[in-house]
Amino acid sequence: MKQQPGKIGIREYLSIAILMVGSKVTEDTPTALFQKAQNAAWMIPIITAAFTFIPLFLLIKTMSLYQNKNLFSVIQKLLGKYLGFFVCLLIFIINVFSISFDSRTYTTIIRTFYFNRTPIVIIYAILMGVCAYGAKKGIQHIGSVAYLIIYYAVLLLYLAFVLCTQDSSIQSLFPIWGPGKLELLKQSSLNLSLFSEFFLFALIIPSIASYKDFRKGTWIALVYISIQLSVGIIIFICLFDASLKGIGYPFHTAIRFISIGTFFPNIEILFFVIWLMAALIRFTAFLYINALMFGQLFKIKNFEFLIPALATIYLLIGSIPESPYDLSLQLKPILRSVIGPTFLVVSITLWLVALLKGEFKHEKKRGSM
């Protein structure tokens, strides 16, 4: 079997996907969801995944017409030069803020929980520096590193979950419907941003060994991550109950709380290590995809050389919010409410345009020939 250079297989793709989207359970997402849907928050990921299925399915269907082309070239091809450019630019700008705010959140977590006397700039700069180095190596190597640590990351995450169950009570989950079924549906539809990264993966299609791998990997990742997110939220609800509302980063509070037996009271470093590695890889991949978008947008072929510059800009944007409070409660909700609908609209529009232009019919004809 011949391996094409610079391409990633399904294992690497799945690892990147799980690390990028799956790590949401370890930041402030569970709290944000709990604030909206109280103790039924754990259902939101599953319902949202079901909602995400439709646009994602349409997107994958549309993308399958243009194999070996990425999302941006498809957008520009279907929507025309000018409209296409503006749509791509919009997606890029949203993602600039998304990566900046997310990386700032992670920096805040590191600072609050582990290095509270270190200046935030230093932590942030090291984080972005590492990511820039990794992103410059290219998607194949990001995938390889992601695959090297994915098993340990997932295993330790579940170990933390299991240890959390020692002190939790299942009663906190009831009443099972939380704020009510209708409210749950409403909140789920508002939280489409949970899985918005999946739309970004359509950008790295040319780097994935085969289109089948991409399709299969995306569905497996979507199902797995929604379950993992939901399990995580169940665990946090059972552990913290109503006080989850006021806990900014439940995963890190939880790992400080748990212990193995009585002799090891503080094992958070164990989880911190693997969490940090996952986070670094997450932002490396995110940074790479962002640079790819930028390169595609402005027709820059060797976009790898832009990565350090882009990383610096993200660092500066991420440093703007004064406090984590501004970030988690004011800026991120705005971003979340924009990302979801944008991707919904973009993918449905793409599909409709392709349908109206008759691309699907052409494909069939080509297939029959």
Partner: protein, 513 residues
């Protein structure tokens, strides 16, 4: 842009110095010529080439061939030939034979005989221990294989010790080394190809591979790489290794160096290519991956559970060797809360009277350990054991009593030092030990965060390393078909594939059922 400006500038600054050298065009021209049929001219030519009689071990013997009644002389290097075989196979036959026979081939009884005409070629053969016979009136020279080089016999492997399995190791005689491989692979497809790599000393390098397994593209890449070497001399295989590597300045090795023929054989049978060289008691295996350095032949000789047990130990040792000291620094300086209170009290108690910060303590002991280790290697054998006593007693016991080091540091250093011995590959061992120091520095700077911020780029670097186009962590990632012999190994019956990254001509070792 910047490079364009700077490159000529650097070139100007680093111009190659000019030397007044003596010209040797005359010698080179001479070597290109063929020998003449004139007996005296040939004799004079070779006497001048070999500086006879200044050069004491080069012998010329003149005589008359009895049966042909023609003058002849033989020339050989007495220190590199077997005098008895010249005596019995050549001289006695030529002088003593009375039957008239037209051909030299039919008179001599030496098992191998060939002819040559080029002066340069003949010179090369003579320096290799071949005896050359010149007959008056003949335009060609007869060469007899009489080489007998003195050297070590086949001994036990010193540096890669195993309990179960073959014990013999390569020695400095390449003939023996090839024989060691041949006797393990009795197959006509095993090819031993010779290539001359350097100009002045004319060192030979031997490519050993199986014709019906090895990927031709890979073989050609390696041959091209060897052909592209431009140098006067390469003394040893370990120097050739540095010439061949893609990144000779990298901390991590990308070619496997082993002295065990059984290991070399197992790689040849997977489709790798092995390089041998005269005067080197080892071989190079190319291409090599992280796994080939990490594994030991014993993993396969032992039964599966035991083999995997030592694999786990080694995997653990890899991490302990690299992270024990940095972790100690990180935890005691940044993450004190992680240590159970009782232990924390104990550590604090022993550190109470030590004046140095823990980073300095660790660094001092690490350096001391490396010193002991290096000293242990270099001391003459008779006083070897003393070093152990000095190291353990003085540095361990006394340093603690003198309040320079706290006892827990001794434990940490001893553990990481011992673990580093478990990584048997010399190059990998160095790589681990040097990265340990890097990790110590970053851990002192930023604790666990610093260590991870170095570890992750380290991983990125490692996965981007390539050995002749093969990724360092193949076949784990990127994935290739293989017998999944990575961190754990399966029973031999299940190991059915040759590694897919080599793209061998025959991937399946054994079919199912």
């Amino acid at each position: 842009m910047k490079k364009k400006v700077l490159k000529p500038l650097f070139k100007k600054l680093n111009a190659e110095p000019q030397f007044s050298e003596e010209s040797n065009t005359q010698d080179i021209e001479l070597k290109k010529q063929d020998i003449s049929s004139n007996y005296d001219q040939n004799l004079a030519t070779f006497k001048s080439i070999f500086s006879i009689p200044k050069n004491i071990d080069i012998k010329v013997r003149e005589f008359i061939i009895g049966s042909l009644d023609r003058r002849a002389f033989i020339i050989f290097i007495s220190t590199m030939v077997d005098a008895q075989s010249i005596q019995e196979g050549i001289m006695e036959k030529l002088i003593g034979n009375d039957q008239p026979s037209g051909k030299i081939q039919n008179i001599t009884s030496s098992p191998s005989e060939r002819t040559a005409t080029n002066i340069g070629e003949i010179t090369e053969f003579i320096t290799g221990g071949v005896t050359a016979l010149f007959v008056d009136g003949d335009t060609q020279c007869y060469l007899f294989e009489t080489t007998k080089i003195t050297g070590r016999s086949i001994e036990k492997s010193d540096n890669e010790v195993i309990v179960k399995g073959a014990k013999e190791a390569f020695n400095e005689k390449v003939i023996d080394n090839i024989a060691l491989i041949r006797k393990k692979i009795r197959n006509e497809n095993l090819i031993v190809e010779a290539k001359v790599i350097s100009k002045r000393s004319r060192n030979d390098v031997f490519l050993v591979y199986e014709k019906d397994l090895v990927n031709d593209e890979l073989l050609q890449t390696i041959k091209d790489k060897i052909a592209s070497i431009q140098t006067d001399r390469i003394l040893d295989l370990s120097i050739l290794e540095q010439y061949l590597e893609e990144r000779p300045r990298s901390l991590f090795p990308s070619i496997l160096y082993t002295e065990r023929p059984d290991r070399a054989t197992s790689f040849i049978e997977e489709g790798h290519i092995v390089l041998l060289m005269t005067n080197s008691p080892s071989c190079l295996v190319l291409p090599a991956t992280f796994w080939s350095m990490f594994h030991s032949p014993e993993d396969h000789y032992l039964r599966t559970p035991y083999g995997n047990f030592i694999r786990f130990l080694r995997f653990q040792a890899l991490f302990v060797a690299m992270f024990a000291s940095p972790l100690y620094i990180a935890i005691t300086n940044y993450h004190v809360g992680m240590i159970p209170p009782d232990l924390l009290m104990a550590i604090a108690g022993t550190r109470e009277r030590v004046p140095f910060p823990s980073t300095v303590e660790i660094l001092m002991m690490e350096i001391a350990f490396e010193l002991i280790r290096e000293a242990g290697l270099r001391v003459p054998t008779p006083i070897g054991p003393t070093i152990g006593i000095v190291g353990a007693l003085i540095l361990g016991q006394a340093a603690v009593q003198a309040n320079i080091i706290s006892p827990i540091v001794i434990i940490v250093i001893a553990l990481s030092g011992l673990s580093s011995f478990i990584i048997s590959d010399v190059s990998m061992n160095f790589a681990i030990r040097i990265t340990r120091f890097l990790f110590i520095f970053v851990a002192a700077f930023m604790g666990i965060y610093g260590a991870i911020a170095l570890f992750v780029p380290g991983l990125f670097y490692l996965v981007s390393l390539k050995s002749f186009g093969i990724p360092y962590f193949a076949p784990m990632t990127p994935h290739f078909i293989s017998s999944k012999d990575l961190i754990i190994r399966h029973v031999p019956m299940k190991e059915r594939f040759r590694p897919g990254y080599l793209n061998p001509k025959d991937t399946v070792k054994q079919r199912k059922g």
